[in-house]
Symmetry: C2
Subunit: 318 residues, 2 copies
C-alpha cells in the first residue's frame, strides 16, 4: 500500500468539494474566555451525513475506475463511515454493502438505510464482522472501502484541515481526535504543507489510549477493551495512518471521560451546536491544559454531530 | 404609549448591529425534502445570550437618556429577557435588577448572574413579581424595561426579520412564535415594509393559545394556566404588541405538543443545532400543514437556543 502525500489531498479536494459542504469555521467568545486562548472550530458536524467521514468516503467512491465501481462498495462499520459510504455510493449510483453488528445503535442503522445502504447484520465480534464482509465481497464483487486504513480515505479526510488552514492563518496548534487515524493522518498531510510551524496534536480518551501508546512505543499497539463515551474513537490505528502520524504529528495527549463530557456540554450550551462525544475530545485536552498554554491560536476539527438524543450524558459530572 | 413603526426598526438596527450578532440564515436539504418546501431559518439561537431577546434589550438600554440610565434598569422575568437585559446593561456599564421567581430554572439564574445581573427572588405569582419589581424600582430609581410591551423592545426585535428579508428574497411566508408578542409585532413591522406580499403567521402551542383566541376575538384574551413545553410562550399579549399584530399579521395557528417535540428533534438531528422548544413551534406548524401548501419559500425565525440539557423531551413521542 502506498502512503498518500499532500498532492493527494489536493487532488481529493477537487472531487470532495463538488459533493461535500465547505463547513463553517466557528468561534466562541465565551469559550475563548474560559480557556484563555483563541479557538477556531472547523465544524464537520455540519458535513453531509453528519461527520467528516463523508469526505473520505466520497473521495474513495469517486476515485474508483468505472468498470470496478459497478459492482458496488462494501465495508464493516457501526459508525459514521457506514452512513457516509452509503451516501457516497448513492451519489455515484452504485450499491453500498455495510456489515454491521446486530447491536449497533438504531440511529446508525436508520441513517445507513436512509441513504440506501444495504445492511448485513452479524455478531459484534471483529472476527464475525470480517467474516461477513469477506462473504459480501466474494458474493457481490464489491470493492472494500476501509474506514481509515485506505489511501483515498486518508487523502479525503485531509481536506477538512486544508479548508481550515485556507480560512484561518497563523494557527499555533491544530487538534484532532484520533481513533483509527484517518482524520489525524489526513490532517497531518495538510498541516505539514500549509502550516509547517503549527503543531498538530492528536487527542484521545484515556479509556482508549492505544494511539498514545503506539506513538510512544513506535509501533501499533492494538486497542483492547476500550471504554469511553467517545464511540468514534474505539478502533486501533491503521498501518497507513500510523506511518503518517509517526512522522508528522507533534504528539498525542489523553483526556478523562469527565473532561470529554464537560467539553461537550460547553459546546452545546455556549455555541448551540450539536457535537458528538468524539468531537469534544480536543476541547477537553485544551481544558485539561494538555496542549500548551498562553493566549494561543488553536484550530480544532469537530469531527461530527451524530448522537442519540435519547441517551445523552449530561446528568453525569454536574 | 405610542406604537413603533418600521422607521423605528431601522433606527433600532443602527444600535443593535453594533452590539448584536448578525445571525446566519441556515437551510436544510433534508428538512426541505420532508416538508416539501424551501425553509430559511434565521438562527437567533446563535444570538448573544442565546436568543433574539438581546436585540430588544440592547435597543431599549442604549436608547435611554444618559441621566436616567445611570440608575440602572429593572424587569421581572424568568426567561431569556432576564439574561439579555443583564448583558445589555453590562455593555452600557449600568446595573440590571431582575426579579425572578424562586423556582426559576438554575440555568436561567446562572445566565443572568453570569452577565452581572442583580437577582431579587420572589414567589412565583404574577402579583408577587410585580410587587417585587415595584419595590426595586422605587428603591433604586431603575427604569423598567418590559420584556415585550415596550416601544424600543418591539423595534429591536423587528431587526431579526429585517436581516432575514435583506438576505432572502421572494419569501411566501414568514413564521414566528408568539408569546407576549414582541418578536411577532417587531417582525410584522419589517415584513409589512420589506416583503408586503409575504404572509406573516404567528405560531403558538395549543396549550397556550391565548394569542390565537385574542386574534380571533379582536381583543386581548389573557393566558390562563398555559401548559406547554414551549416555556418562552406562556405569557399574555402586550397591548402594543396586539395593536400591531391585529393589523399586520395574516393569521395565528396552533400546534400540538407532539408536533413541537418532533420539530425540535428534527432540527437537532438534521441541522445539528440546538433550538429551544419555543423555536420549534413554527416548524411544527409547517409539519402539521397549517401554513399553506405547495413548494413555497418560508422564512422561520428560530427564537433561541437556551435549554436545560438535563431535562430534554426526546423520550416522548418516539
Amino acid at each position: 500500500m502506498s502512503i498518500p502525500a499532500y498532492a493527494d489531498v489536493e487532488e481529493a479536494h477537487g472531487r470532495v468539494r463538488r459533493f461535500a459542504h465547505r463547513t463553517p469555521v466557528l468561534t466562541s467568545e465565551s469559550i475563548d474566555r474560559i480557556v484563555g486562548g483563541q479557538l477556531f472550530f472547523k465544524c464537520e458536524n455540519f458535513q453531509k451525513a453528519g461527520a467528516f467521514k463523508f469526505r473520505g468516503a466520497i473521495n474513495a467512491v469517486m476515485s474508483l475506475p468505472d468498470e470496478g465501481a459497478g459492482r458496488g462498495v462494501a465495508t464493516h462499520s457501526s459508525g459514521n463511515h457506514a452512513a457516509a459510504l452509503a451516501l457516497a455510493a448513492r451519489m455515484r449510483g452504485i450499491d453500498a454493502h455495510v456489515v454491521m453488528p446486530e447491536n449497533a445503535p438504531d440511529i446508525k442503522k436508520h441513517a445507513t438505510e436512509g441513504y440506501g445502504g444495504r445492511i448485513r447484520f452479524c455478531e459484534s465480534t471483529l472476527a464475525a464482522r470480517e467474516f461477513a464482509l469477506n462473504q459480501v465481497v466474494s458474493e457481490t464483487g464489491a470493492i472494500e472501502i476501509h474506514p481509515y486504513n485506505n489511501f483515498h480515505v486518508i487523502a479525503g479526510q485531509g481536506t477538512a484541515a486544508k479548508e481550515l488552514l485556507e480560512k484561518v492563518s497563523d494557527l499555533d496548534f491544530i487538534l484532532a481526535p484520533v481513533g483509527g487515524g484517518g482524520l489525524l493522518a489526513g490532517s497531518a498531510l495538510s498541516v505539514a504543507k500549509l502550516a509547517p510551524k503549527a503543531r498538530l496534536i492528536g487527542c484521545e480518551p484515556e479509556g482508549a489510549d492505544d494511539a498514545y501508546r503506539s506513538f510512544e512505543k513506535g509501533e501499533i499497539v492494538p486497542s483492547t477493551n476500550p471504554e469511553t463515551i467517545a464511540d468514534g474513537l474505539l478502533t486501533s490505528l491503521g498501518e497507513l495512518n500510523f506511518a503518517i502520524i509517526r512522522e508528522k504529528v507533534d504528539r498525542i495527549v489523553t483526556v478523562s471521560e469527565e473532561s470529554i463530557i464537560r467539553a461537550m456540554r460547553l459546546v452545546w450550551e455556549r455555541m448551540k451546536i450539536i457535537i458528538e462525544p468524539s468531537s469534544a475530545v480536543p476541547l477537553a485536552a485544551v481544558i485539561e491544559g494538555k496542549t500548551g498554554h498562553g493566549n494561543k491560536r488553536t484550530g480544532i476539527i469537530i469531527s461530527g454531530g451524530n448522537v442519540d438524543l435519547k441517551t445523552l450524558p449530561f446528568h453525569r459530572y454536574q
